[in-house]
């Protein structure tokens, strides 16, 4: 009985494991290249005492190394090889992520672990992307941009799509597919009409039917090599000789038998919703609602074994308007007292107007609460006699809840001579409060660094222009006027010439000569002059910072 017309995409990733390993090794050996970076990479697994290749990289395929080959034979073909053990869990995780990504095309996606592929059922969803062809083009473009080598095939049923992806020849009529760079064949194959299905499948080998290699060997010895050989044969003797499985797979491939897959389910967000029979508006009721939501969220997180870094409190008013308020945590937590404390002021942000009819709380950014996270404060307590990690994190959280997300910062040095760019404000990370990483640039004033150029303890965000009296051409100021006061200078150090980075500075930024000045009251200032006399520019003076 013919099945209803639908499109199934099968995406095969031939080099998934190899690309993951290359990515990881490329990341870890950032300074020096791994010595085996240019050799063909094969992934091996020990089966029956021998090392068998399960996957390889593009170079290995070019040498003729295929899955199922023994490692010894492979080394005979290609002496210089790099081998890695196979990691089926990591592969499955990668494929799971890809299947979740593929949910942008259709909610029905599944993972084919054994053969490194994913299924997408796009029946009813093609029109959202302007047709099957543009959907395929979009998919191929995105995969190509993310550096995944993929083979895409679309067919009216699963079996045919699988067969085409693994064994099919590229289709003649191909439109704007991105061409892979190193001579591999085109990556998109498609069949739309069922009439052409038989014709295309007929030329494929029997292994394309997903039958056992042992049975396929039997059939080969009996003279049946391609699918076309068995399409016209009588069914009963075929089943009797080679098994029912062959017939099942043949029917699935031709579309006479239904085949479906179980789609992956996306991770459910943690979400608690509370709807009110009558809209609430009193402050006490709103506070109670927030507290109940927070308590239930904490319980839900506990049951799921997760901790969250962001809570979103949402509410809907009677007239349908929806608002949300985010609370950020500096460390993942599911502590209900912490939630209550951070949401203490949240009720001020709610303007009920005619009433709230629904309130919800979502915990975004969840992660499993690793035992390491709970061990950290004790580690800090033992090593440092400073702040206990827990109280530091809660201080940061309280300040952020009170003053806003960017209010609490730390100073970080940047490797730049321009004084305003030599320091950046970064968000505090509680796991790193007292660690020092060697790769970061140090502070200029470190006593260990020898003679350090003088730097002020406070730096103005925008240098203030000042009127200066100075002997030409390049003397330090004798006096300057700032905020309507005259400062006479009795001591000056300098000049320190700081030029903008010519390769990245915007046009118009000029070289500066910095002077460290002490005036007759004893206050210390850091002034600079822009406009060099030897270049015949008019000088202008600015005040940039203060010394102790």
């Amino acid at each position: 009985m013919p099945v209803s017309y639908r499109h199934i995409i099968y995406i095969h990733f031939p080099y998934l494991a190899a690309s993951r390993i290359q990515r990881e090794s490329g990341q870890s050996a950032s300074g020096q290249r791994a010595s085996g970076a240019d050799l063909p990479l094969v992934i091996i697994r020990k089966m029956n005492g021998a090392d068998i290749i399960v996957a390889g990289c593009a170079r290995a395929a070019a040498h003729g190394l295929a899955a199922g080959m023994r490692l010894a034979d492979a080394r005979a073909l290609c002496p210089q090889l790099r081998t890695e053990a196979c990691d089926p869990l990591a592969d499955h995780a990668d494929l799971h992520h890809l299947a979740l990504w593929a949910r942008r095309y259709s909610p029905l996606t599944a993972v084919d672990d054994q053969h490194c592929g994913i299924w997408i059922d796009i029946a009813g969803a093609e029109h959202l992307f302007g047709g099957v062809r543009s959907l395929l083009a979009d998919c191929a473009k995105r995969l190509h941009r993310s550096h995944f080598r993929a083979v895409l095939a679309v067919a009216p049923n699963c079996g045919a799509a699988w067969a085409l992806a693994h064994y099919g020849k590229p289709s003649e009529r191909l439109m704007t597919a991105p061409k892979p760079t190193d001579g591999q064949p085109e990556t998109i194959k498609y069949i739309f009409s069922r009439a052409r299905l038989r014709r295309h499948l007929a030329a494929l080998p029997l292994a394309a039917l997903r039958i056992d290699t042992a049975i396929a060997d039997h059939m080969r010895r009996a003279g049946l090599r391609v699918i076309g050989d068995i399409i016209g044969l009588a069914r009963a003797p075929l089943a009797a000789r080679f098994g029912q499985d062959v017939l099942l797979r043949l029917d699935q491939a031709l579309g006479d038998q239904d085949e479906s897959f179980t789609p992956v389910s996306p991770p459910k967000p943690l979400y608690i919703c509370r709807q009110f029979a009558e809209p609430i508006g009193a402050a006490d009721d709103i506070k109670a609602m927030i507290q109940q939501l927070a308590s239930e969220t904490a319980i839900l997180l506990q049951q799921a074994g997760l901790a969250t870094r962001r809570l979103r409190l949402g509410w809907q008013l009677v007239d349908g308007l929806v608002f949300a308020h985010d609370v950020h945590l500096s460390r993942p937590s599911r502590d209900v007292t912490l939630f209550h404390r951070l949401l203490a002021n949240a009720s001020d942000k709610i303007n009920p107007e005619f009433g709230l009819e629904m309130g919800w709380m979502e915990s975004l950014d969840c992660s499993p609460l690793a035992p390491r996270d709970t061990a950290l404060p004790h580690m800090i307590l033992q090593r440092h006699n400073g702040v206990v990690g827990e109280s530091y994190a809660s201080l940061v959280d309280r300040l952020v809840a009170r003053l806003g997300y960017g209010a609490v910062v730390r100073l970080a040095p940047q490797a730049c001579w321009q004084p305003e760019a030599a320091q950046s404000l970064e968000l505090p990370d509680p796991s790193q409060i007292f660690t020092k990483t060697d790769e970061k640039p140090g502070w200029l004033g470190d006593p260990a660094s020898g003679t350090a150029p003088p730097r002020p303890i406070r730096l103005l965000a925008y240098p203030h222009p000042v009127d200066v009296v100075a002997l030409l051409p390049d003397h330090p100021p004798a006096q300057f006027i700032w905020q309507r006061r005259i400062h006479k200078i009795i001591h000056a150090t300098g000049p320190e010439r700081i030029a903008p980075a010519w390769w990245q500075a915007p046009a118009g930024s000029r070289t500066r000569d910095y002077f460290r000045l002490r005036d007759d009251q004893g206050a210390g200032f850091w002034l600079y002059r822009e406009g060099l006399p030897e270049r015949h520019e008019t000088p202008s003076w600015f005040l940039h910072g203060f010394f102790a």
Partner: protein, 307 residues
């Protein structure tokens, strides 16, 4: 809270010189002061832990030194941003030095102490008002490791000030520096803030410095007025030694009396130094002013010219 089990060694006999140069009975005064201290300890009044500042006259005026676990008020002249921040940094350096000494004595080890200093929460004034943000390179040169700082950068001064007693309730901080640069608040507001902040600081043992409140406010532990002063000894030091000199006026001190003095501070010493004019002529300091022509390029240190 621990008590300083030291006798009052700050009262040195040589400091007692009244204007007509009569040395009064030193031993009697010393014993009297020590007796007072012991009675105060026995009575439980002397609950505050004091850190000596290093300048004897100042420590005397403060009745022991800078009180830990309290809120101190620092104010400065209109444009003396650097001086007030510098004095706050000097006091933080003192606290750090004291904590290290305490740790060393507690563990009784002569080997290198861990450099793990406590966290300092600094809430600078908003950048629009002309004081500027703290600059890590300068702080590091002045001896304060910027990695110890947690900066609360928020433009609204009232909200920043309102967060003070919340911050003071955290245990384990080394110090808190809060700057206020907003509109005038009523005396009532300051009194209430002072009371709340002092209670919170006493509970958690965190020392706090409040910069920018009006000087007339009572309720804080000490009230200072800081003015920068000229360092006439500058030319006898090498160019690399950075010393700051301030004119300090201790206007109010709980348990002490007002005092005025001139102190100098260098990074790393762990204490303030009494500043005396080294050049005296007829009892008056000599204003060593170099004519401007002296500051010509040829006299400047080579490393500055090499750029």
């Amino acid at each position: 809270m621990q008590r300083m089990n030291q006798p009052i060694s700050i009262v040195k006999p040589s400091d007692f010189r009244v204007p007509n140069n009569q040395i009064i009975n030193e031993k009697k005064t010393y014993d009297l002061a020590r007796l007072r201290q012991e009675i105060a300890v026995a009575d439980g009044y002397n609950k505050r832990l004091h850190i000596p500042l290093g300048v004897d006259s100042l420590d005397q005026a403060l009745a022991g030194g800078l009180a830990l676990g309290r809120v101190h008020l620092l104010t400065g002249a209109m444009q003396a941003h650097g001086a007030v921040s510098g004095f706050a940094m000097a006091l933080l350096d003192l606290l750090h030095h004291h904590a290290r000494l305490k740790a060393k004595l507690a563990t009784n080890r002569q080997t290198a102490i861990t450099n793990d200093a406590g966290l300092i929460v600094w809430c600078p004034a908003s950048q629009r008002n002309g004081a500027g943000m703290l600059y890590g390179h300068g702080l590091a040169a002045a001896g304060l490791d910027p990695a110890r700082l947690l900066i609360v950068d928020t433009p609204n001064p009232s909200r920043r000030l309102a967060a003070l007693d919340d911050i003071l309730r955290t245990e384990g901080l080394a110090a808190v520096v809060m700057e206020y640069d907003g509109v005038q608040k009523s005396a009532d507001y300051w009194m209430r803030l002072a009371r709340r902040a002092q209670l919170a600081a006493e509970d958690s043992g965190t020392t706090a410095f409040l910069l920018g409140a009006p000087i007339g406010v009572s309720g804080f532990e000490t009230a200072w007025h800081i003015k920068p002063a000229v360092d006439l000894d500058r030319w006898s030091h090498s160019a690399l030694v950075q010393r700051s000199v301030w004119d300090l006026t201790l206007q109010r001190a709980r348990g002490g009396r007002p005092h005025k003095c001139k102190v100098g501070w260098q990074a790393g010493l762990g204490q303030l130094q009494a500043y005396h004019h080294s050049i005296m002529a007829n009892g008056k300091p000599v204003q060593a002013e170099l004519p401007i022509g002296e500051l010509s390029a040829s006299k400047w240190p080579a490393h500055a010219l090499a750029r």
